[in-house]
């Protein structure tokens, strides 16, 4: 894509050169603003062992506006709805141009480690989490086994 800002190019290069552990982000071969992301479930979380596929799109205003990120893999999480949308402040009002793809993805990984049912996106899940955290975690682990464990082509 012509006219790609230097910042995006540099970020992409750096992502390739120094990948963050547990995260891979590969630009689409036809659209350099569209990234195929795979985030590994953090250890000591119900998502451990799962590989979660995400899509990340850098809007025209980036870095002045936040990238658009969505889970492609089904995940049982109070801040992620069934469409994969993520409830994360830095992707919304707390976005800052100083943040990068790397930091966004790290934040998402951190979100998996620390679900925040107080700021829910999916109320059913959030309720489940609040009412019976253990059951919710089991559910999440179950989903991970079901959806994030097998090969990625299912999604």
């Amino acid at each position: 894509m012509s006219g790609l800002p230097r910042r995006i190019i540099k970020e992409t290069q750096r992502l390739m050169a120094e990948p963050v552990s547990g995260i891979t982000a590969v630009p689409d071969e036809h659209n350099s603003r569209y990234f195929h992301v795979v985030v590994a479930g953090p250890s000591q979380s119900p998502y451990e062992g799962g590989l979660f596929k995400l899509e990340l799109f850098l809007p025209e205003e980036y870095p002045m506006s936040a990238p658009k990120v969505r889970f492609m893999t089904k995940i049982y999480h109070p801040n992620i709805d069934k469409l994969g949308r993520i409830c994360l402040d830095i992707l919304k009002d707390k976005w800052s141009p100083a943040l990068q793809i790397r930091t966004v993805l790290l934040s998402i990984q951190a979100l998996l480690s620390a679900p925040n049912p107080d700021d829910p996106l999916d109320n059913n899940v959030a309720d489940h989490w609040k009412s019976n955290e253990k059951s919710a975690i089991d559910q999440a682990r179950q989903w991970t086994q079901t959806y994030a464990k097998s090969n990625m082509n299912n999604h």
């Binding site: 230097r6 290069q13 050169a17 707390k94 800052s96 100083a98």
Partner: protein
């Protein structure tokens, strides 16, 4: 922030501190927000201004700040960052030059740093890299930010090393300097090791200077010797002419005196007759009738005599006029052009001297003035000029000869004798003046001739006289001997009972003369008489009419002495054929090899089109039409060019069938114009007619007689036999022109007569077979029957040495031209293998070679050279 103790001071971190967090570029106009975060003014901060509220939110800490009046540009500058940027301005400029990738510290590639500083000794850098815990690429980045040693990253007592332009601490500097010191020591010892070579060069230079001076002295001596000799010759000639004049005077005076005496006697007797008759009559005594009648008869008789005087019937012998004809334009021009110094930049072949070159008279008269005395003569436009130094030995011989011929008392006696003999005959002088002569024999002449023939019996062989006589005829005025002089001479010969019928015998006569003079010593030490000498004598035999100058005449005499055995052969040949075939016993080439070196013509370059070559190998010149045939090896074809390099035609292409080639190598053209080609990878020899039509092929791969294994050079002798270098079998095979096997000789080895990879072959005019025994670095010479005769050359690059000799060609005088492929030069040898001259060196320009292969010599003496690696052909 630069001094933050917990931050690693790697260049990467420093670099990152100089980057704007928004654009990820080096700060452009860094502005400090009240929250102490710094961003570029444009476009980062400007893009963040919330116009409606005139506020800005820090991208780092999300603190909201009021944008000052006039916009974010009025935020204060971050002076620390700016000074850091200025500090690394140089590095940044360098990074800018290298491009955006390297400006990003993360993208610095270790190797790029080394490339950027080629002046740093590689070994020193390597030594330090082993000590440092980071690759070399990181070190210089310290210069952009924090000053630290590039070896140990210490920040104390940092200074810049003047040697490698690196920041280095005191301790490491010491180690570094000791390393540099040892490097310097090593270089010094290298220099020391090289010193003897330079002093050797000096010695060689001094030797060369001495040699040069000696040579100049020799040249001077030679010049004065030659000139003294010619002066002596001229003086001798002067004496001879003056003696002749004296003789002429004496002879004429004598005849006049005789006539005078006769006349006086006649006068006296007539007077006394008159007196006595008158007295008789005046006595008036009766005279008997008979007496009177008798008296009258006597009176009538005497009256008749007187009448004879009156009528001019009886008159004094005509006084012949004499006149010296010194008009000799040839001699004048010869003297004027005589002797030139030829200076060459090429190292002189020190052992090589060329004998004085004497005129060749077989050239037409019109060219005589150019050819007269080519010794010491050079074409006035000759570039590059060269020194032709006549060998002092030859000069010495000339002296001996000239003394023997012209100064010895016997000689002058013979001269006189000849004069007597010629008495009454048309002497050259009188002929010149066109004075009518008394052809009828008178008694004086008759007397002289008788006395002459009497004298002759006890004298030197009459052929001497004869030669003397003829040379006189030639030398005086350059008038050809006319028919009647010849007749008369033969008449004389008859009286001398010494018939010498024709000039065709002169060789024999001269040989006799030579034996008379007995020059045994010369015969012993010079197995090869000088070419020029031969030339003059044979030319004398061929065209006796034109030997214009007296100097030349003397040289002819010299030639008699100098020329030995071949002369007899030559004379024998001459009588049967007047061909121009030259003897191979020559030492001075007709081809001016020592003036070669710059190519007169170069054609072809790499390619497959007509006129282009891919690895040309064999080269030959057709003896019939002087066309050049090139074995265009990797194009698998033969290309034919004119002797001036113009493309004519091509034939053949890749394949195994008749008329097809696979990497042909050697090529030769026989006397019939047939083209003989060694088809290397097909292990056969093919013969084509002169139009390039296939005629026959012979040979197959193998080791048996008649089989070939990568045949290379081919050659033909003058009987049509084909000689093939059977390279991988290390032998020479001989075939008839129809391809039937005749014989072979040679085997693998380095002994005489053995070969290792014989490449090219040539047959000399005197039927010797020269083989370039390439991997033995020598040329071997065989008889036609394969008997080893001698070899020359050894491995090396000195004169006469060679490395992997390839192409070989022999000119009509027997000079051997060798393509010294390992030394990238052409060497010329005499037929006996003595070095004569050389030229060429490595390169791709004209006159340079990269892969010498075949050689050929054109009819005019030009050398055609095939250059495999330059893919071209050059003519010298």
């Amino acid at each position: 922030m630069a001094g933050a103790p917990d931050v690693s001071l790697s260049s990467e971190h420093v670099q990152r501190l100089l980057q704007c967090a928004v654009c990820l570029e080096i700060f452009n106009q860094p502005k400090l927000l009240p929250c102490q975060h710094t961003f570029c003014l444009s476009p980062c901060l400007e893009g963040l201004v919330e116009v409606r509220t005139r506020s800005i939110r820090c991208p780092e800490c999300r603190a909201d700040h009021f944008v000052p009046r006039g916009g974010p540009g009025n935020f204060p500058n971050n002076l620390t960052i700016i000074s850091f940027l200025e500090l690394s301005a140089r590095a940044s400029a360098r990074a800018d030059a290298r491009g955006a990738v390297l400006r990003d510290a993360d993208a610095v590639v270790p190797g790029a740093r080394d490339r950027e500083r080629p002046q740093r000794p590689r070994e020193a850098a390597d030594g330090y890299q082993a000590e440092g815990d980071e690759p070399m690429g990181a070190d210089a980045e310290a210069g952009d930010g924090v000053l630290c040693c590039f070896v140990c990253r210490d920040e104390r007592s940092i200074s810049r090393c003047s040697h490698c332009d690196q920041l280095v601490c005191e301790e490491c500097r010491r180690a570094h300097l000791s390393q540099v010191k040892s490097d310097v020591m090593r270089m010094i010892s290298q220099i020391r090791r090289g010193l003897p070579q330079i002093s050797d060069q000096l010695i060689v230079l001094g030797r060369k200077e001495t040699q040069f001076q000696n040579r100049c002295e020799e040249v001077k001596t030679d010049i004065s010797e030659v000139f003294e000799k010619h002066i002596r010759d001229l003086k001798a000639r002067e004496r001879v002419l003056q003696e002749e004049v004296d003789v002429f005077i004496g002879r004429e005076l004598r005849s006049l005196r005789v006539f005078q005496e006769n006349t006086e006697m006649e006068n006296a007797s007539l007077a006394s007759f008159c007196d006595s008759a008158e007295a008789l009559l005046s006595l008036s005594r009766s005279i008997t009738e008979g007496d009177l009648i008798e008296l009258k008869r006597q009176c009538m008789e005497h009256l008749e005599t007187v009448q004879c005087y009156e009528d001019g019937i009886t008159r004094p012998p005509t006084v012949k006029q004499i006149q010296a004809s010194m008009e000799s334009p040839f001699l004048t021009s010869t003297i004027n052009n005589f002797g030139d110094l030829i200076v060459t930049s090429r190292p002189l072949p020190s052992v090589e001297t060329s004998a004085p070159r004497l005129p060749r008279v077989e050239d037409s008269l019109s060219r005589l003035d150019q050819n007269l005395n080519p010794d010491f003569r050079l074409s006035r436009a000759s570039v590059p000029p060269q020194i032709v130094r006549p060998s002092s030995r030859a000069v010495e011989r000339v002296h001996q000869a000239s003394r023997a011929m012209s100064i010895s008392p016997t000689q002058s006696r013979r001269d006189r004798q000849v004069n007597f003999d010629l008495d009454g005959q048309p002497l050259e002088e009188s002929r010149q003046t066109s004075v009518p002569q008394m052809r009828g024999p008178n008694r004086w002449n008759r007397y002289d001739r008788r006395s002459d023939s009497r004298l002759d019996e006890g004298r030197a062989p009459s052929m001497l006289r004869q030669i003397q006589e003829r040379t006189r005829h030639r030398s005086l005025g350059g008038i050809p001997m006319t028919r009647d002089t010849l007749d008369e001479r033969e008449e004389n010969s008859d009286t001398d009972s010494d018939p010498i019928p024709s000039y065709l015998q002169t060789g024999l006569q001269r040989r006799g003369l030579e034996e008379d003079l007995g020059d045994d010593e010369e015969r012993m030490d010079s197995p090869q008489p000088e070419a020029s000498m031969r030339a003059i004598t044979s030319s004398g035999a061929r065209s006796p009419a034109f030997v214009p100058a007296s100097v030349q005449h003397r040289m002819t005499g010299i030639g008699l002495v100098e020329t030995q055995r071949p002369l007899a052969e030559e004379a024998g040949n001459q009588s049967s054929s007047n061909s121009n075939t030259a003897s191979v016993y020559v030492s001075t080439p007709r081809n001016r090899y020592n003036q070669k070196g710059s190519s007169v013509c170069q054609f072809g370059y790499r390619g497959t089109a007509p006129g282009e070559f891919t690895s040309p190998r064999g080269v030959t010149a057709s003896p019939m039409d002087d066309k050049i045939y090139i074995a265009d090896s990797s194009n698998h074809r033969v290309q034919v060019f004119s002797s001036r390099g113009g493309f004519i035609k091509t034939f053949g292409h890749h394949g195994q069938d008749e008329g097809q080639f696979d990497c042909l190598a050697g090529i030769a053209v026989n006397g019939l114009g047939q083209v003989i080609i060694s088809d290397r990878y097909n292990h056969r020899v093919q013969i084509f007619d002169r139009n390039g039509i296939f005629q026959r092929a012979f040979g197959s791969e193998g080791r048996n007689p008649g089989q070939l294994n990568y045949p290379w050079g081919v050659a033909c002798d003058n009987m049509g036999f084909i000689y093939v270098c059977d390279k991988e079998n290390n032998r020479i095979q001989v075939f008839q022109s129809n391809g039937s096997y005749v014989r072979m000789f040679g085997s693998q080895g380095s002994m005489p007569g053995q070969f290792v990879n014989p490449h090219y072959i040539a047959v000399s005019p005197d039927n010797k077979v020269y083989v370039s025994d390439s991997s033995n670095h020598r040329i071997q010479v065989f008889s036609l029957y394969g008997d080893f005769m001698f070899s020359f050359g050894s491995c090396g690059n000195l004169r006469g040495q060679m490395k992997f000799p390839r192409g070989i060609a022999i000119d009509h005088q027997g000079f051997v031209v060798v393509a010294d492929s390992g030394n990238h030069r052409i060497q010329i040898f005499r037929s006996d293998g003595r070095f004569y001259s050389m030229f060429g060196s490595w390169g791709s320009e004209r006159g340079h070679f990269k892969g010498l292969e075949g050689l050929a010599i054109l009819a005019d003496g030009k050398i055609v050279v095939g250059d495999r690696e330059n893919h071209c052909v050059q003519i010298f």
